[in-house]
Symmetry: C2
Subunit: 304 residues, 2 copies
Amino acid sequence: MSLLVVGSVALDTVETPFGSVKKALGGSAVYISAAASYFTVPIRLVGVVGGDFPKEHIQFMESRQIDLDGLQIIEKGKTFQWGGKYHYDLNVRDTLFTDLNVFKKFDPKIPERFKSSAYVCLGNIDPVLQLQVLNQIKKPRLVVGDTMNYWIDTRLKELTDTMKCMDVIIVNDSEARLLTQEPNLIKAAKKIIKMGPKIIIIKKGEHGAMLVTEETIFSAPAYPLETIFDPTGAGDAFAGGFIGWLARTDDLSANNLKRAIIYGSTLASFCVEKFSVDSLRDLSYLKIHDRFRSFMDLSRFDEN
Amino acid sequence: MSLLVVGSVALDTVETPFGSVKKALGGSAVYISAAASYFTVPIRLVGVVGGDFPKEHIQFMESRQIDLDGLQIIEKGKTFQWGGKYHYDLNVRDTLFTDLNVFKKFDPKIPERFKSSAYVCLGNIDPVLQLQVLNQIKKPRLVVGDTMNYWIDTRLKELTDTMKCMDVIIVNDSEARLLTQEPNLIKAAKKIIKMGPKIIIIKKGEHGAMLVTEETIFSAPAYPLETIFDPTGAGDAFAGGFIGWLARTDDLSANNLKRAIIYGSTLASFCVEKFSVDSLRDLSYLKIHDRFRSFMDLSRFDEN
């Protein structure tokens, strides 16, 4: 099924204990699309870049069959740039700079032929823009939205309005707590269900992820990586794997949602093994499926 | 199989957002024994109390078929007392007081007929005492040891000596990191394997638990409780459920270790539903098995 992805397209400068990279391809729309591209075509990306955006990045995205008709190129502007540094404990990161550039005035215009997309993934952007996107879409089958603490702190009213139009929200554990003022994650998830989305995914980093619906709670482990090379984009790769699998199968049953969580975790685990989207350049369905099965080995037990 | 449990026996004064309790039955040896008592007999407890220790607590332990021949009663002394307060976010607790009393000079003497116990569980006590216990035991089949940040900080040399005699060590995630100076939990676990114990269990509170051996990594979810009434003793109930299941089945295969982790998680989840050991007073194997199956539902997924 067709999948629309809206979010940032960026050039990231990242330093980790294992190395560094300058102006590498990044941004939520890129990670989501690249991850989802292993499951479904076409993927329709809506975002904005400046005239400085390297052609090779366009070529990479096209090679992944990502439809770039919705990528605005502001020739006189500069692409969004983000710089960050991860420490030895990769759970802690410092943002070194955020130059929004052309992304500051991002006005997501959905090309006419994108408006009937069945699956919609809203990357972590201003909830006002997320809603603006949804107002242009005709009856999507599933809307997945991401957000972050910054929007919860500064745009709570707008975010809660937008959440009413999301079927699935993806947050991390601290965001779930912040959004609901509830320390217990199960209670927090159930409060979020009352705010709109019927499917809550709580990402817990090295502790895996949790799916909560009115009827189901599912706990997914994290893949036990000994070296996390660069955590940038892991959450977006998760979202891409998740919605990519759902768009591929067009099956929203509880059992298939669980599989989608594991495919999301799988893509996130690949993502952090290299800088930027490098590990999402040459995956194969076979590699992905092998790791999916490792997740099974990791969490399976029997009665006797 | 016979199971020897050595640890503290205490009177706990606990305050949580849901209520409070004064001088309630507590201590690592009590929680471990009570949890394990649902799986195996006899359980042999070694600990110390003062003349003030209420008879009803003795009666409770006897009713759970815990053999108290190793419980020293110092008539003129007072029982170890601990006081703590949990806040709304139950991950944070303040210790209000620690009156060691008779526990300060605890000198674990293993009664002759306890010395051939097949399974040994060392609660979180001074590693010097843990080793003193092991030196009195004849060829145990499995030694499980618990420890805490306090011993890692103040008795590292003694702890590493004692760890050489443990088959299984149970630590929480921060203790694993502290012990190895390694933020990545998988790497930390593999470093601990080099220190002696061949089976590492890392408890992660609301995020479940992880089993790491040379060949296996297993990730167990936490039971999704909306109300955690009192977290005191959860780690000890986990240890008790874990070793209790192993002593019952006498099967140290990887598959059975995984089941033991889930039984440990099951007992811990019951433990926190009431104050003190109250929820470990009237469990049944049926209730335990039902919750074991809920853990299965919580983490199981299939390929298609």
